[in-house]
């Protein structure tokens, strides 16, 4: 697919993109529902309230601190090796209005608000059943105030990763149309940091024997969340293609089609793997596979053919259930929502695939440099920031709170007061 140079948005494209951006939050709603469903019933209200709180914290902090750093109108550059390295935005504060920003810039800012909310929500799901609400909001503030704005500026705001093509002849620079890096890889790697710092859920890894299965409490929420996410993802990928890749109108239906095909092939792959391994398809793993496909499509949907989209989805769908098992059984990573596998690994796979299938010479290397930046710079930085934050705002709830459940401990009431919640090993 060829991209046309950046041109001012026409009125019709502006209206279309704005309408799509009103639908894109359905992806966030879908992820929130999936997170609640994959957690336990005694933490369901806290999980959904937390999603709202994390979204709100991320939006506020991004408006106050992050937006100027992410903006592309003004930026700070350093000179090294005879090249100019655009390292951060230095836009005027958003709090006094958008000024004379172009239509395109205003839509880009709106997109970034949705993106930061999604990125901040991913670690919240991974910390389910032990991550305190205040700590979740604090972690969201760190993501929205520093990690996301810098990454977004480097990739979307004309930063040094976007300029790899101009400065070093690496294709068109690092390409991330739908936020596979800025949203999903960033959020998924944040989730890994949170999971490591907060530790596993009580009883998850007993002293002897294999890990204990702690299944999600509502598969219907999870699967409906997947359907809801599809609507959001279609809007997300198409609007992103317009805003960040300057895709022409005629290419947008194929972007939407590729999104659907990638997710579909991914869920088919996961269905086949779980059917083969367990004798029956696994609902929560199929949901993970579907989401991994959608995440991978964020990087590839606007850049590949439908056949390539099927391949991207198939790989994501086959790898996801196997990796979920490895994470839990071999690596002792307790990630209830599967954000590390689905969003971090799915996102990185999509970014790599975009480089493999892109027709421009050097594009694969540009994608590898971007992946290396996320893994080698952003992840250690996030871990460090979260480790410091954990000293002042402890991530993990105390043992009594975990035994009671997050709903009773943090909110004083359960999500399902009319139902008897079954006893489990924590009460013995």
């Amino acid at each position: 697919m060829t991209m046309v140079p950046s041109a001012p948005l026409s009125d019709s494209m502006f209206a279309l993109t704005l309408a799509l951006l009103f639908l894109a939050p359905l992806a966030i709603a879908g992820v929130a529902l999936i997170n609640a469903g994959l957690g336990r019933s005694r933490s369901a209200a806290q999980a959904l309230l937390g999603s709202l709180a994390v979204l709100a914290a991320a939006a506020i902090v991004f408006a106050v601190v992050g937006a100027p750093l992410a903006g592309s109108a003004h930026s700070l550059s350093i000179s090294a090796g005879g090249k100019s390295w655009n390292v951060t935005g230095a836009a005027p504060s958003l709090l006094f209005g958008m000024g004379s920003s172009s239509l395109q810039a205003q839509l880009e800012l709106l997109f970034e608000f949705l993106a930061v909310a999604m990125a901040a929500m991913l670690p919240w799901g991974s910390g389910a059943d032990r991550f305190r609400l205040s700590a979740g909001c604090a972690a969201a503030a760190v993501i929205a105030g520093l990690a996301f704005p810098l990454t977004a500026h480097w990739i979307w705001g004309g930063g040094w990763l976007a300029q790899l093509g101009v400065n070093f002849g690496l294709g068109a620079g690092f390409l991330d149309g739908g936020g596979a890096a800025t949203v999903h890889a960033l959020g998924g790697l944040s989730a890994l940091a949170v999971v490591w710092i907060a530790g596993p859920r009580r009883g998850k890894f007993p002293k002897e024997g294999l890990s204990t299965a702690l299944p999600g409490h509502n598969a219907v929420y999870v699967l409906f969340g997947c359907l809801l996410a599809l609507v959001g993802w279609l809007a997300w990928n198409v609007s992103a293609a317009v805003l960040w890749l300057h895709a022409p109108l005629a290419s947008l239906p194929q972007t939407a089609l590729n999104t659907l095909l990638t997710g579909s092939c991914a869920v088919a792959g996961t269905y086949a793997v779980t059917r083969f391994r367990f004798g029956k398809p696994d609902a929560s793993l199929c949901a993970n596979g579907w989401m991994a496909g959608l995440v991978a499509s964020s990087a590839t949907a606007a850049l590949v053919s439908p056949l390539q989209a099927l391949f991207v989805g198939l790989v994501a769908g086959i790898v996801t259930p196997l990796l979920v098992e490895v994470m839990e059984l071999a690596l002792s990573i307790d990630d209830p929502s599967g954000a590390v596998t689905v969003h971090a690994v799915g996102g990185l796979w999509g970014l790599f695939a975009a480089g493999v299938f892109a027709p421009l010479p050097g594009q694969l290397l540009a994608q590898l440099v971007g992946i290396g930046t996320l893994l080698g710079l952003v992840f250690p930085l996030l871990y460090l920031l979260f480790a410091v934050l954990n000293r002042y705002v402890p991530f993990r709830v105390d043992a009594d709170g975990e035994r009671l459940g997050m709903d009773l401990h943090e909110l004083g009431g359960g999500a399902y007061p009319e139902f008897v919640i079954h006893r489990d090993e924590s009460y013995r």
Binding site: A80, G81, K83, L164, F168, L170, W196, G199, P200, F205, K207, L331, S332, I333, G362, L365, L368, V369, I371, G372, T373, L375, G376, L377, F379, P380, Y383, L384
Partner: protein
């Protein structure tokens, strides 16, 4: 051990940066970028191993 792994990961990143700055030719540049990614992968592996060890130590 976990922190040693996390410290090794930025080393891989700087190797990648050095590769794109110092090598204009595609082959050595790609080789050193891959080496940088390998260092990051090793760092991540050590960090994961450190996480597993600390969990086993607590159990």
């Amino acid at each position: 051990m976990k922190y040693a792994g996390l410290l090794a990961m930025p080393a891989g990143f700087f190797l990648i940066l050095a590769a794109i700055l110092l090598f204009p030719d595609p082959l050595p540049r790609a080789t050193f970028v891959l080496c940088g990614l390998a260092v990051e992968g090793l760092g991540l592996g050590v960090a994961v191993r450190g996480h597993m060890n600390s969990r086993e130590g607590r159990a």
